[in-house]
C-alpha cells in the first residue's frame, strides 16, 4: 500500500474536478459525502504510508515516486515527482487529518449556503494543492502547490463575493502574497542557476558537498524567506491575514490557521541544511519571528471581533514557529506547527460554532454567559485556549516550551524574552475571549438570543476530536527533563532535519525555563481573570488613562493606513500618470497614427482605381509593350 503514497493528493483533486463540473446538479448530501470521503481516503493513505515509514526504522529516507519528466529542456530538467519522508508524513497527517475534520464540520456549517458545491470544490482543491506542496520533491513542483493554495485562499476568502469587503479581502490576500512569491521565485531561480536542479535531495547534496558559498546561501535563504513571510503572514506582509477572516469560518480554520499559513514554516524546515549554512539568514528569521510574535499578540489585545483575535493569534503563533526555525530548532518549529494545527483549528471551529449559535454574531461585546447554552462548544473551546496559552500538560505547552528553550540554549536571550512576553499576551488575550464569550453577563441581542442553540452533531463531533488531540498531541515531544530520548517527535524527524547540535543546558536551567514559561502563562490568565471577571472596570480605566495606546492597538498600529498611503496610493497614482501620459499618448498615439497613415496611403492609391475599362487596358498595353521591349532588346 505504501508504494501508492503518491495517490494521496489525487483523491481530493478528482473530487474537486467532479464537483466543479457537475456540482450544480448533485444533491447536497452527496456533495458533502464525496468531499469528505476524498479527504478521508487521503488521510487513510497518509496513515498507512506513515506506519510503513515508521516500520522502516530511522534509516528510512522516505519514498520518492517520479511520475514523469515535467519540464525537460537541455540540461534543465524538472520532474513531476512526489516524496514521502518523515517531514512530509507529519505535514500530510496534519493536512489531511485536520482537513478531514474541517470538511465534516463544513458540511454542517455551510448547510444553508446556496453555493454548497462550489465551497466543497474549492476546499478539495485546496487540500490537493496543500498535499502537493508538502509532497513535492522539488522546489518547482512545490511552487505549483504554493500558488495553488494561494489561489484557493483567494477563492475562499472571496467566497461570499457579493460582499465587497470579502472580495477586497480576497484581492488583498492575493496581491500581498504575490510580493512574497516574487522573492520565493527568485530564490528558486538562484538555486536552479547555481546547481541546475531544484530537487531537495540535490540541494541538500550540494550543501553537504560545500557547493554553496556563504554569501550565496544567505541570499537564497533570505529570498526564500521572503516567500515564507508572505505565505505565513509575518512582518511586514501580515496585513492580509486579519482581513482573510471575511471568508467562511471553516476556511479560516483550515487555510488561515492550520495548514496554508504554515507552508512557509514547512518550506524553511525543508530547506534547513541551506539555512544552517547562513547564520545571518537564521538570525533574520528569528528576529522577524520574535517581533511578529509580540507585535501580533499586542494587536489581538483590543480587537472585539472574535475571528480577528484568532487571526492575530495565528500570526503570533507563526512567529513562534519562525523563532524555532531561526534558532535552529527546526523540529521544535514543526512540532509547534503540528500542535498549533489542532488547537488553532479547534479555536476557529469553536468560534464558528458560537457564530452559528448567535446567528452570525462576531462581536465579543454582544456575547457573554454562553457557557450554559453551548455545552459542547464551551469545554472544547476552553481546552484549545488552555493549550494555546501554554498551560502544562496540554499540547501547546510542550511545543512552545521546546521553542523557547532552544532559543535560550542558543544564547538568543532577547528573542527568548520577546517570546515570553508574547506568551503572557497570548494567555491574556485568549482568556479575554473566553471570559467575554462564555462567562459574565449576557449581552446578547434579543434576536440572537431567541435562536440560541448548540450546533448540530456534524459540527460538534469534530470539535471533540480536535479537543482530544489538543490535549494529547504534545505527548510525542516531551521535554528533555523527563529523560533522554522521550522526544519521539525529534527522533522521528531526525533523518530529514539535521539539527545542529547546539549547546545543551543543564537540567536545572531546563526546569527553570519550564517554570518561567508556566509562570508567564498563569500570570497572563490571572490578569485576564482580574480584568474581565473580577473587576471589569479596570480595562475601562486603563483605556481612559492611556487613550492613545488603546487607539494605536485598536487601529492595529495604523498599518493598513500607512500601507495605503505609501504603497497602494503611490501605485495607483503612478498607474494613473502612466495611463495618462504613456498609454493614452504613446501607445494609443502609435496605434492611431499607424492606422491614419495607412488610411491616407489607401486614399491616395485608390484614385488609381477609376473603374473605367479603358484605363486598365491602357496600363495593360503599356505593360505588354514594356515586356516586349525587354524581350526584344
Amino acid at each position: 500500500m505504501a508504494e501508492l503514497f503518491w495517490l494521496i493528493p489525487f483523491f481530493p483533486a478528482l473530487s474537486s474536478l467532479l464537483l466543479i463540473l457537475f456540482g450544480r446538479k448533485l444533491p447536497r448530501k452527496y456533495i458533502a459525502f464525496q468531499a469528505c470521503l476524498a479527504v478521508f481516503f487521503s488521510l487513510a493513505l497518509s496513515i498507512l504510508s506513515f506506519l510503513s515509514l515508521l516500520g522502516s526504522g530511522h534509516e528510512g529516507h522516505g519514498l520518492i515516486k517520479n511520475l514523469f519528466a515535467w519540464i525537460h529542456s537541455g540540461s534543465f530538467k524538472v520532474d513531476l515527482s512526489l516524496q514521502f519522508d518523515q517531514l512530509t508524513a507529519v505535514m500530510c497527517l496534519v493536512v489531511s487529518g485536520v482537513g478531514f475534520l474541517i470538511h465534516v464540520y463544513s458540511s454542517g456549517y455551510m448547510a444553508e449556503d446556496k453555493s454548497f458545491a462550489r465551497f466543497f470544490a474549492y476546499m478539495n482543491l485546496f487540500t490537493f494543492s496543500m498535499l502537493l506542496l508538502v509532497m513535492a520533491s522539488n522546489l518547482v513542483l512545490m511552487f505549483v502547490g504554493w500558488e495553488g493554495v494561494g489561489l484557493c485562499s483567494y477563492l475562499l476568502i472571496g467566497f461570499w463575493f457579493e460582499k465587497p469587503s470579502a472580495a477586497d479581502a480576497g484581492k488583498k490576500a492575493f496581491i500581498v502574497n504575490r510580493i512574497g512569491d516574487a522573492g520565493f521565485m527568485l530564490g528558486i531561480f538562484f538555486i536552479l542557476l547555481h546547481i541546475g536542479s531544484a530537487e531537495f535531495a540535490a540541494v541538500n547534496h550540494a550543501v553537504e558537498a560545500g557547493g554553496f558559498a556563504q554569501g550565496l546561501a544567505t541570499l537564497i535563504a533570505l529570498l526564500l524567506f521572503v516567500g515564507a513571510i508572505g505565505k505565513s503572514a509575518q512582518i511586514p506582509l501580515y496585513v492580509w491575514l486579519p482581513d482573510a477572516m471575511e471568508g467562511p469560518t471553516p476556511v479560516s480554520a483550515l487555510i488561515h490557521a492550520a495548514t496554508m499559513v504554515t507552508a512557509g514554516v514547512y518550506m524553511v524546515a525543508r530547506m534547513n541544511l541551506l539555512y544552517s549554512l547562513s547564520p545571518v539568514a537564521m538570525q533574520v528569521v528569528a528576529i522577524v519571528g520574535a517581533l511578529t510574535a509580540v507585535y501580533a499578540a499586542s494587536m489581538a489585545l483590543t480587537q472585539n471581533d472574535i475571528k480577528r483575535v484568532l487571526a492575530y493569534s495565528t500570526i503570533s503563533q507563526l512567529g513562534y514557529m519562525f523563532i524555532g526555525l531561526g534558532v535552529g530548532a527546526y523540529s521544535a518549529a514543526v512540532f509547534h506547527l503540528y500542535t498549533h494545527a489542532f488547537f488553532k483549528s479547534l479555536l476557529f471551529l469553536g468560534a464558528g460554532s458560537v457564530m452559528h449559535a448567535l446567528s452570525g454574531e462576531l462581536d465579543l461585546r454582544k456575547m457573554g454567559g454562553l457557557r450554559k447554552y453551548l455545552p459542547l462548544t464551551f469545554p472544547t473551546f476552553l481546552i484549545a485556549t488552555i493549550a494555546i496559552a501554554g498551560v502544562p500538560f496540554f499540547s501547546g505547552f510542550f511545543s512552545k516550551d521546546a521553542i523557547l528553550t532552544s532559543a535560550f540554549a542558543n544564547g538568543q536571550y532577547l528573542i527568548w524574552a520577546l517570546g515570553l512576553m508574547g506568551a503572557v499576551l497570548t494567555a491574556f488575550y485568549m482568556f479575554r475571549v473566553v471570559f467575554l464569550t462564555f462567562y459574565g453577563k449576557e449581552r446578547l441581542e434579543p434576536e440572537a438570543k431567541a435562536h440560541l442553540h448548540e450546533s448540530p452533531k456534524t459540527m460538534t463531533i469534530p470539535l471533540v476530536i480536535l479537543a482530544f488531540f489538543s490535549i494529547v498531541a504534545g505527548y510525542v515531544g516531551l521535554p528533555i527533563v523527563l529523560g533522554k530520548n522521550v522526544n519521539l517527535f525529534d527522533r522521528f524527524l531526525e533523518p530529514v532535519i539535521h539539527a545542529p547540535h547546539g549547546a545543551h543546558l543543564s537540567l536545572s536551567s531546563e526546569w527553570m525555563l519550564i517554570l518561567a514559561s508556566v509562570a508567564v502563562a498563569l500570570f497572563g490568565i490571572f490578569i485576564a481573570y482580574v480584568f474581565y471577571l473580577k473587576k471589569p472596570d479596570i480595562p475601562h480605566n486603563l483605556v481612559a488613562r492611556f487613550p492613545w495606546l488603546y487607539k494605536l492597538l485598536y487601529n492595529k498600529y495604523y498599518m493598513d493606513e500607512i500601507y495605503n498611503a505609501t504603497f497602494v496610493n503611490s501605485t495607483i497614482k503612478g498607474s494613473e500618470l502612466v495611463y495618462k501620459h504613456f498609454d493614452l499618448k504613446v501607445i494609443d498615439g502609435a496605434l492611431n497614427g499607424s492606422a491614419k497613415t495607412m488610411n491616407t496611403i489607401g486614399k491616395l492609391l485608390s484614385s488609381l482605381q477609376t473603374g473605367l475599362i479603358k484605363d486598365y487596358a491602357l496600363v495593360f498595353l503599356l505593360g505588354a509593350l514594356i515586356l516586349l521591349g525587354y524581350f526584344v532588346f
Binding site: L608, Q609, G611, L612, I613, K614, L621
Partner: protein
C-alpha cells in the same frame, strides 16, 4: 509564292487596328469586335510561322484560339446584354462601378 513577311505585315496592321479600335471606340460591342480582330491578327501570325517552319503546332494553337474566341463571344455578348439591361447603356464611361 508570297513571302511570309507580307503575311506578318498584314497581321501587325490588323493587330494595331484592333488596339486603336479598342481605345477610340466607346461602346462595348465595338471594343469587343476590336479584341476579336486582335485575336485573328495573332492567328494569322501563328499560321504564317507554322507554315514557314513546316510544323503543325501553330495551326493546332489557332484551332484552340478560335474555339476560345467562340466561347468568349458567347459569354461576352451575354454579359454585354445583361449590362445593357441593368444600366440602359453600353458606353464604357457610364460603367464605372469599380471606381475607388
Amino acid at each position: 509564292m508570297i513571302p511570309p513577311t507580307y503575311y506578318l505585315v498584314v497581321s501587325i496592321i490588323l493587330f494595331v487596328l484592333g488596339i486603336i479600335g479598342f481605345f477610340i471606340k466607346k461602346d462595348l460591342i465595338t471594343q469587343f469586335l476590336s479584341v476579336e480582330v486582335m485575336l485573328n491578327a495573332a492567328n494569322l501570325a501563328f499560321i504564317t510561322f507554322a507554315h514557314s517552319a513546316g510544323s503543325l503546332d501553330g495551326q493546332i494553337i489557332v484551332f484552340f484560339v478560335i474555339t476560345v474566341a467562340a466561347a468568349e463571344a458567347a459569354i461576352g455578348l451575354a454579359i454585354i446584354l445583361l449590362v445593357y439591361r441593368k444600366h440602359k447603356s453600353i458606353k464604357t464611361e457610364d460603367i464605372h462601378l469599380m471606381k475607388g
